[in-house]
């Protein structure tokens, strides 16, 4: 410090103010960006926080009360005269400030002159509660919501009115397994088929090559709604509906144009010398493809794999149409839509359920983000 002070840099006034301006700019940039990031994160954070709160807590307080905040705590009660008419304005006793309020105002809570808050403790019994503020946080966390949504068994809980109730679990564990069984092959199969095709288009000449590649590019943006009805009919004829295979094939078909297009761009730019020397050594196309092209294309394959994985995992429409009402095969997104429809108020279940559907994609996303971004940058438009 002393050394720095001893050797003044003799800045001119101009650069000094420029520096200050730069500093202010930096602070503004970082603050604005931090606010944006906060806004973007809060929805997910709220879901995660809610999913580990108890059923009663979620229903009675916002998830943000898990952070320290000033909350009202009842410090005592006062009995109003039994004959108090709730339809008339109520005058509180002198010890409570003597103000006059309607019963509904008291229901919402009124603040009396000394800062304390008055609300009903027991409206019918004409008892009011005196509340003071105190710092606190609702940190009553539990994993029970997750247990209940994952299991398919019945479970009991104590409802708000004290009675014991039985509910059916949502069997999201089974749906999670279904999602895995649907997604992994629906990711690998199209990649394999597309890699072969990309090599064929890039390094082989055959009649109809241009026409067929034009078809691939044309199909890039075709909305899959166009294909659903006819394929559903084919599936009914083949008795394929409600099987994993139905969904794999469908996702393979819908994912292929982009897969071929991306992999073609990559494979066609591999250095020509490598392939030629392999041919001189007498290798066949098949050997070159499996021994050379596949290993060399790993970055592109990984990028597309993540793309396709997230797309299939998060898909609802294709799964809904080809799995339909087969409860044993339903994937996570389908189960979540059902839950959102039938249990729209049960936020303890919905938040936990939603987070269960998100866990795998989030893991994939965070561990392989680099490849994902690379895939996005290489890709164009997905149909």
């Amino acid at each position: 410090m002393a050394a720095a002070a001893a050797t003044p840099a003799r800045p001119t006034r101009r650069t000094g103010s420029a520096k200050r301006q730069q500093l202010i700019g930096k602070i503004v940039v970082n603050t604005v960006l931090a606010l944006i990031c906060l806004a973007w994160t809060i929805p997910t954070l709220g879901l995660l926080a809610s999913s580990i709160r108890t059923r009663a807590d979620i229903a009675n307080s916002g998830w943000w009360t898990i952070f320290p905040h000033q909350q009202f705590v009842t410090t005592g009660t006062v009995d109003l005269p039994r004959e108090t008419d709730l339809r008339q304005p109520i005058t509180l006793p002198a010890e409570l400030g003597g103000g006059t309020y309607t019963a509904d105002q008291i229901t919402a809570g009124v603040t009396i002159p000394d800062g304390r808050r008055i609300t009903w403790e027991n409206r019918r019994g004409r008892v009011v509660a005196i509340q003071g503020t105190q710092w606190g946080a609702n940190t009553n966390f539990t994993l029970e919501n997750y247990q209940n949504v994952l299991s398919g068994r019945k479970f009991t809980y104590i409802a708000a009115d004290g009675s014991e109730k039985t509910e059916q679990g949502d069997d999201l564990w089974g749906a999670l397994l279904n999602s895995i069984a649907v997604t992994v092959p629906a990711t690998i199969i199209p990649i394999l088929i597309a890699a072969f095709a990309a090599y064929g288009f890039a390094w082989m000449r055959f009649p109809g090559r241009f026409l067929l590649f034009t078809l691939v590019v044309a199909l890039l943006v075709v909305p899959l709604q166009v294909a659903l009805v006819p394929i559903l009919r084919d599936y009914v004829n083949l008795d394929l509906n409600g099987t994993y295979m139905a969904v794999w094939l469908a996702h393979t078909g819908f994912g292929l144009p982009l897969a071929i297009y991306l992999l073609y761009n990559y494979v066609s730019q591999l250095p020509r010398d490598i392939l030629e020397s392999a041919f001189i050594d007498g290798a066949s196309h098949f050997t070159i493809f499996t021994r050379l092209i596949l290993p060399l294309s790993m970055p592109a394959l990984a990028s597309f794999a993540i793309f396709q994985f997230l797309w299939v995992w998060n898909d609802y429409l294709v799964a809904f149409i080809f799995i339909g009402n087969q409860p044993g095969v339903q994937v996570l997104t389908m189960r979540l839509v059902d839950m959102a429809g039938s249990r729209g108020q049960d936020w303890h279940v919905l938040t936990a359920g939603a987070f269960v559907t998100m866990i795998v994609p989030l893991i994939v996303f965070f561990s392989l983000q680099r490849f994902f971004v690379r895939g996005l940058l290489a890709g164009s438009v997905k149909g």
């Binding site: 931090a34 166009v226 292929l256 030629e276």
Partner: protein, 375 residues
Amino acid sequence: MQSTEVTPRRMAASSSETLNPGRLVVALLLFAVLMAFLWGGFVFLRDAQRNDSVPKLLLAVLAIVWGVAGAGGFFYTMNMVVEQLPGNARRLLTPFVFVGPAVLILLWFLALPTLRTLYLSFFDANSIEFVGLNNYVAVFTERTMLTAFRNNLLWMIFGTAGCVVAGLIVAVLADRSNFESLAKALVFLPMAISLVGAGVIWKFIYYYAAPGQTQIGLLNAVVTGFGGQPQAWTTLVQPWNNFFLILILVWLQTGFAMVIFSAAIKSISEDMLEAARVDGASEVGIFFKIMIPTIQGTILTTTTTILIFALKIFDVVLVMTGGQYGTNVIAVEFYRQLFTAGDNGRGSAIAIVLLLAVIPVMVYNLRQLNRQEVF
């Protein structure tokens, strides 16, 4: 991109120019065995799934093995068969071993269905009676569809603009901030979340409780915290409720735009920016006069991608409102016509309308392909 083909100069020692019947038979046998394995596996998986006789985890693993081994084995045995053929036939057929399966699947799952859907769109609900253009007339005159068209326009205009503008802002800010990769990861994160999951997240944010009750939805808690009245945002005064749904798209897709813009901005030469700064250009001036024009090609393709995404928006609306309260969109109406009303003709016509909407993009892509002189 190379336009000449690489051809084997010399044949591999193992394969000869003449037909080898013994080897061909073996290869064909292997292919037949594989087909039997695929069929047997398929029947087993289908029935085990339906009567729940196998533990689910085992079934999932078996399904994965079956599917992946089947696809790999298919290429392997097909190639074996073709390699046993004499030279000319082999040279002619080998490319089709490579591109054949992909082309067949594309034909089955996309190309032919498009034509078949077009055909179905001229028939009645049960695809029996020819009704001409009646389905299209209904699609373009019915109130629900007109609402859906209007809403899709709102989604495409405001949703896309929101994503592109927010994406640009975040990309530029992140580039100058001290926590670039963290900021980008956080904004990008919703890309990993399903539209259904996002629907549940935002349903919770927009949750409405009657005045006087505790608001557990974030937005209503903020509104009442400032002394306002709680609102049922998604069923609110129409058409404004649509904007609360569109906000979800912006939350989801801004990350996509941001990542692409960020890469584009980083590729702008530092010298050019520095030169502008030396000439006294302000940061805002640099943004509008240098950055935007330089990356306008990227902005165009990103905008197109999000436009198509907004055109086909479905899951979010389905989860949030089911298309009720004047929030219907084309894809939800397609779903309702097909699966609630059971009207194949009308559903097909709506799907064709979606297809027509993306035709300009398709034409543009094909033009680009021709310009590349790839072939």
